[in-house]
Symmetry: D2
Subunit: 403 residues, 4 copies
């Protein structure tokens, strides 16, 4: 039987079907399988114990939504060739392939000059080489170099299947039911007009709801103060480890590959280190933190024990800046308590900012196609929820400290 | 075994438990059982075929949430006696007992001077008489005459269990997943402060989400244009029937009881007709409409056939008023087409308004209790979604017409 | 725009799409719209208040599953033409069109010689006439006269989409989560072999689960003793009404159409009465019962009040036959209590049987297609749950009585 | 404010509440937090990508169900003191605390003479020491030494909250909807009779459904052939590593703690190694496998790469034993292909058995309490699904091989 198809159970969508040989090959590739060992939501499971789903699962979900979106658009008369379909599906499947372990926390930390999107593109290139150029269309779509612009917008845009899947999936696994979006309704309302992705008029409330759910997920989940403090502690741990290494203190990661990225400067010609990079995942970090719990350096071991045992620093979030004097006082306290220097105290008492914009009409656009053929940005629609004020970014200040 | 308890399967909450003899008695009463035969959402099932749940089901659900709310508040140290608990549960169980068939459409139509809340109170009084005054506390809570004001607020207020249940339940049965609210989270965040019901600071996003979901449900479901047109057609049918009756045309309802309310003026001393009223439900209306499909009066039978067979008038919804001339033109068209008078044409071509306010800070209040003990209205909270503009009522104009 | 498509929200499957003009026409037809006013589960809502969904909703759901099944089979290389697709979809959409009000209870009661499947076929014929023979294929599939036998098996067979939808939907609306079946998995495992519908080997556990869920739904829901007693009371009410009519007692139904079927013998040449029959629905029955609550005949009014107010007769279910003497004693009691004759007492004290077979390998077949190409009945599969004993019918005896 | 309570979002049950200071302390303990880093379902996520939930999440869920069960039983008049409640909750929270990484696969492998239940008891003892004997009651309940036997049965028995949670949770996270059990209904039907846990008569179908769901989950999920082959590969990897160590080949685990258990004989006086054991988790194994992917030993690195990259051995499952000759032939093939010895070929070609019993009436009991006060084992109930044949264990044979 020439018919080959694989059905994957997904608690979110029921079943995800794979039936294209090239996509099978990509999913089976070690680069893609690595995503099994990277949490989609990093430390969010410290607050939401169910939020342990992997980046592999998210990208499979986004791939599934891409299939639905393409079917919808074709039903509406938009021409999408088989090759374009496969290209768009591969682009979304691999859109996060360049994420390293605990990516948002460690972005620009382990690998300093290259961001995860650039790495994704490098990996796409590498795979394309291995697979005789079969990823050309996917790469063009990924980089917005493909003529049918709407395909790129499905991969990366205000209403892309990436966001639709992660909001849906993160809401599902955290159990934050308020984050539920009507992804199926939005998908059914997608249209292409003048080559661009838009949404039918009658989906306005669903899109508003989508933006509000995103806003809620940001503050209640992604920027939850416990999640923020855990991420910041990981950053401080890497900072400390690198400081110790520079001071020639004996220190090893659990795996040679993490050891390499901690000790080697990989900023120039990152391509040379790409293969190595694809061996890194969350288990390297976690296993390393566990080992460092008994490192002789007190700063390092205290932070590691705190993060591993979920005995985290305290954190305060507020709309105003924190007072410098209060911070210095807290640092003095901790320096005294732990018998460390004031410089070292900064590993335990520090501040920063978290920013979120629900919808920024300057940067990004959700275009509404009205029945009469006119087009309008959602922020300009009469009675819309998404007005000036909501469009402004919201900034919060945090202060982490040891009590 | 003295232990008596009944468990009712509910697709929304799993199980609803009843374990109080007085509540058993009320649920078993014919007045309450009548609610089985009144759709919670009237004609919404013409658009959302699943939306056929009854007012009985909604009030049982609200009763269930009242139990959860009381447990939560008690856990937080608020004193609520057994008698108050039963009173609040009865008040919510019977809060809609005064609704007649297709209530929102026919409110002030069949019974002209008395609204459903007044009728609810009369029925509460009647039951209280039958049950030796055991409903005294419930009546006080219902009418906000009970000292612990927060009990009334749970029955009727911005965050009452009535709204929480109907939004949750209507969203469930329509399948409009975007209407889902985090009722369980909101319930867990309820507090009583200075004798009033408030919400903890960390529930702000959930409350915002609740208001946005309500807004969405209004426009997408409750005021869906097909639902609006069906309701208005029912009003026109009753108007026409009463006009025919006044003109001594031979016309009967399916049941003596509906016949009575169509033909008799019940505006004074409505109490006399209360018992009769409690025999009316949606089946009287529907069965009557079916009979009138073959009534000799063409206006009546055309409207009835349209509503019964879901062959509805057309409707347009817009933000601006409709042009009078257009309406007259449409009325002329229909008068010609159906060979009826211009007066009769008004049964087929007519206009009106639909209004919705997401949150009106003048009338109603959701108070946030901050950790530091201060209290603020949600519309005054920094960065809140619920700002001036959203608080203003939104008005839409509709035009119904026969094509 | 030539593209016409309607999307219907369904809480069970999310969205149901209709995009065929002929199917639009059938759905819009008054015969089909009548199904809105017939409960899918008759009196089950007396126990499960959510179970108020309509036969229209069920048949739309089965239509949706038919679409999924056809897509699956086509993906596996089975040829199904557009005409066959439409035919199969119409056949399932109309498979229950011949049901009258409270069909299982009143089958062979109001209309004595014709069962609902025969009536469905007559209505299919009538519609086919109206629609210029466009329903020919649907009728052939419905009557198993179509060469591709598997299409009929999808409409009516052990694994048809009718059962899959009603188990899924009834489980959903009752809230009996144990009735959930993996309809999506079973659909994905359907195959056609030698022209017959079969199931892939790896779906064995899902099919077992499906049969066990069906068994559970039978005893816990469909044959729930409260549901049984309500159905039997309705039968007794019709019996009594017809006895009164034969005795020339003044008695009217709420609607002329129900009156007609109560008083007229429609057994010969039922076709003549078909149009009338299509005006009957649950509201005629319910409105009539409400009127009869005040009929002078005590037997009739007592039974009607009991059913309308959910003040039902008592019922006992057991595996052994009931003792005749006990029944006579109970009848004497009620005759004395209500001052009625022993003949009349039989309206309040009576017995009967309920039967259910989980899987009968003699009548019906679920065939498993193994990877090596062999075929086996599921009851013959090694280690299967569905063995001899389970295949035997289970009979229970009931006794209803007034206490 | 003396009121302290923590609410944890759970996608399965909504919210889990913790409000006892002792339970806070246990949850915060590093021994318990370690369970975050142990997958509840080991390699099941290779087939079901959502199945990545942790043992911490499962035990929190079981703790939640214990709370519900206790509330139900108290409502039925069973006396359970606050101390017993806390004891039972701690016992269930810690019932799996002794599991090591990939426990079912590695049970008796890393630690050869002590099983996970013995280790759990040792850890309970250790914690009890640390916490001034506050775990005495929990330990008695855990070891069935507590007079109220039903408390132990809730922790470990045919209808314990452990099984109820893992079936519900595993079904949820895998997306295998057929595994859903009516845990809430079963909990509501629990009774205590003669000091033992039983189930009310009307829950018979729910219990049958529970057993059938368990059977389905075993064959479709827990013993899914891909899951089995992955577990067996892990065992072979550990075997090979220990063989290399014995042959003094240079080989290190990622962490000192895993290295220790690989190289040291810990069979005698395991208590001495308990503290070390509580530092082991899945990340040690996964990080180590990744490192060994580049170990010079071809047998070890080939197996590790296969498991890490999900490039698994083939597996066949059948009801009959495999033929020895076929196995030897396959081993010869692989020995030739990989240029390894016939002894080494056994790491790539090997066989074994998987066994499952749905319900064994000899070992375990589900007792049904009838309304008349009699008690019967479910396998003896009339018409029950759970008969002789289903009670027999089902054995399947597997053969793994490299292709």
């Amino acid at each position: 039987m020439s018919y080959v198809r694989k059905i994957i159970n997904d608690p979110v969508y029921g079943f995800i079907t794979v039936d294209d040989p090239l996509i099978f090959k990509i999913i089976a590739h070690p680069f893609y399988q690595r995503l099994r060992r990277i949490y989609q939501m990093a430390f969010a499971s410290l607050v939401y114990p169910g939020a342990v789903h992997s980046r592999l699962h998210h990208s499979l979900g986004a791939y599934h939504l891409m299939g639905l979106a393409i079917t919808e658009l074709r039903n509406k008369g938009i021409e999408i060739t088989k090759e374009e379909e496969t290209g768009a599906k591969i682009a979304i499947l691999l859109h996060d392939i360049g994420h390293g372990p605990f990516s948002h926390a460690l972005e620009k930390k382990l690998i300093r000059n290259v961001d995860h999107e650039q790495i994704s593109l490098m990996i796409l290139g590498l795979l394309n080489g291995n697979m005789n150029g079969q990823l050309e269309t996917a790469i063009k779509i990924f980089t917005d170099a493909y003529p049918k612009k709407f395909l790129h917008q499905l991969v990366s845009g205000q209403l892309d299947v990436d966001r639709m899947d992660y909001l849906t999936r993160d809401s599902f696994f955290t159990g934050v039911s308020e984050g539920v979006i009507g992804y199926d309704r939005i998908l059914k309302m997608l249209v292409v007009h003048d080559g661009e992705l838009m949404i039918e008029e009658k989906a306005i409330y669903s899109v508003e709801k989508f933006l509000v759910a995103r806003r809620l997920m940001y503050w209640q989940v992604y920027h939850h103060k416990t999640v923020v403090v855990a991420e910041k502690m990981l950053v401080k741990i890497i900072d400390r480890a690198q400081a110790l290494i520079q001071n020639k203190i004996n220190l090893h990661a659990a795996s040679p590959v993490l050891d390499f990225f901690l000790k080697q400067d990989t900023n120039e010609h990152f391509e040379k280190y790409l293969e190595k990079f694809t061996q890194l995942d969350d288990t390297d970090i976690l296993c390393t933190l566990k080992i460092w719990c008994s490192h002789p350096d007190g700063v390092l071991s205290t932070l590691c024990k705190g993060l591993i045992n979920r005995d985290l620093l305290k954190i305060r979030l507020q709309s105003e800046r924190f007072d410098e004097e209060e911070i210095i006082k807290l640092q003095k306290d901790v320096a005294g308590k732990l018998r460390i220097t004031m410089d070292e105290a900064q590993y335990f008492v520090f501040k920063g900012e978290a920013i979120n914009t629900t919808y920024n009409p300057l940067d990004e656009h959700i275009k509404i196609l009205f029945k009469d053929g006119t087009v309008s940005d959602i922020s300009k629609v009469d009675n819309a929820l998404i007005h000036q004020q909501l469009a402004a970014p919201v900034k919060k200040y945090y202060l982490c400290y040891l009590q």
